[in-house]
Amino acid sequence: MEFDFSVIIDALPALFKGAQLTLFITVVGLVGGSLVGLIFGLMRAYGNKLINSIAFVYIEVVRGTPIVVQVMFIYFALPVIADIRVDPITAAVTSIIVNAGAYIAEIVRGAFLSVPRGLKEAGLALGMPVWRVLAFVVGPVAFRRMTPPLGNQFIVSLKDTSLFIVIGVGELTRQGQEIMAANFRAVEIWSAVAIFYLVMIGVLTFALRAVENRMRIL
């Protein structure tokens, strides 16, 4: 067979549209997921028994089920059990928030607890309230330690958006699938789709490296 570049050229507008949606779901999902992760991670690390248990259950439920099942549940099961109807994109964004949130919570917990106890004590010994010690003494050190695993999770979540093909979200993989179904040019289309992902993740990797270079990991 012959590799036909014109197929890719023709597909580019649709693929760009898909990539845009992929980026949108990833960015909004990860902003939300980071917030959720921070909250639940701190609940795990510093909460009392009840708060800790709540966070633990959330994390275990999410980590114990596949993301495809989660998004199917949000999209198809929630309307039945709670009469909550959402459009596919909202379901996709919510899935990333819920899914990444659980993994990021564990990253946050691990990073905060890895900071030597002496730093927290040094902050407390100055007479600072606990939340200030966590925000201004332990937090900045923990944040630096979080960046490598956080980068990993960002990449995983970006690629997880391809699974939303199952609820018909027109993201990058779905666009590829649709074009392919019309012209049967599997080699060209899936190569192009792969390169789109590679470029997006490449940019993300460079951005993360830039952040890491700007601050020494302590």
């Binding site: 730093l119 004590e121 010994a125 100055l126 007479g127 600072m128 050190v141 302590l218």
Partner: protein, 242 residues
């Protein structure tokens, strides 16, 4: 004026009794040196004073405030009792200057400019002004500990607690830290020092306390106790550390 008052204080870790009904009064201006074998409760006793450890029984007053008081009271106590740790515990993301200027901005609502100006004066006092822009990992252990002393002084405490301040240092770096502590004592600062530096106890201490099994076993003037220890276990201990 009583600065610290232990009233029948007890402290347990699990089933281990670490402080067993300790009574102790420390007046303003005293330089108390706490010695004792490891596990005798000396570090715990020190850490109870600024409530880094909570006490299980009795009461402990610092400048009239109880460590069993509200969170706000505990923070007030901590602002009156500066602490220096064995492992320095400088904030690694901050320069020496930022480490020292941090506390006043956080708890005394001092402006950044004012806090940095005071921090410079303190760094000069501990002989590290030219190192103000260095990060902790760019400083020697002795320098880090001197910055840590300046950091504790920056919140203007009435009392300074030292938890084995030279134990993590090489012998040649200990002197620079001990000299700063001696200067501080000569200025009249109330100090409680957990240490194995017997020469410091002799030279700077006004009172020596030997702890054993969570009790205060011996309490008196440093020179007398060191030269003619009547307690056999203190004599034994001094032979090992001296």
């Amino acid at each position: 004026m009583k600065m610290v008052e232990f009233k029948n204080v007890s402290k347990r870790f699990g089933s281990t009794v670490v402080l067993d009904g300790v009574d102790l009064e420390i007046e303003a201006g005293e330089v108390v040196v706490l010695i004792g074998p490891s596990g005798s409760g000396k570090s715990t006793l020190l850490r109870c004073i600024n409530a880094l450890e909570t006490i299980d029984g009795g009461d402990l007053l610092v400048d009239g405030l109880s460590v069993r008081g509200s969170k706000a009271t505990v923070r007030e106590i901590r602002q009156e009792a500066g602490m220096v740790f064995q492992q320095f515990n400088l904030f690694p993301q901050m320069t020496a200057l930022q480490n020292v200027a941090f506390g006043p901005q956080q708890v005394r609502h001092t402006s950044k400019a004012q806090a940095e100006q005071e921090a410079m004066a303190l760094l000069e006092k501990v002989g590290l002004l030219e190192r103000k822009d260095h990060y902790p990992n760019e400083l020697s252990g002795g320098q880090q500990q001197r910055v840590a002393i300046a950091r504790a002084l920056a919140i203007r405490p009435k009392l300074m607690l030292f938890d084995e301040p030279t134990s993590a240092l090489d012998p040649e770096l200990r002197q620079e830290v001990l000299r700063v502590m001696q200067d501080l004592a000569e200025e009249g600062m109330t100090m409680i020092v957990v240490t194995h530096e017997i020469s410091f106890a002799r030279k700077v201490g006004t009172r020596l306390i030997f702890m054993e099994h969570g009790h205060i076993a011996v309490d008196g003037a440093p020179n007398e106790l060191i030269d003619q220890a009547s307690n056999p276990r203190l004599r034994d201990f001094l032979q090992h550390v001296g």
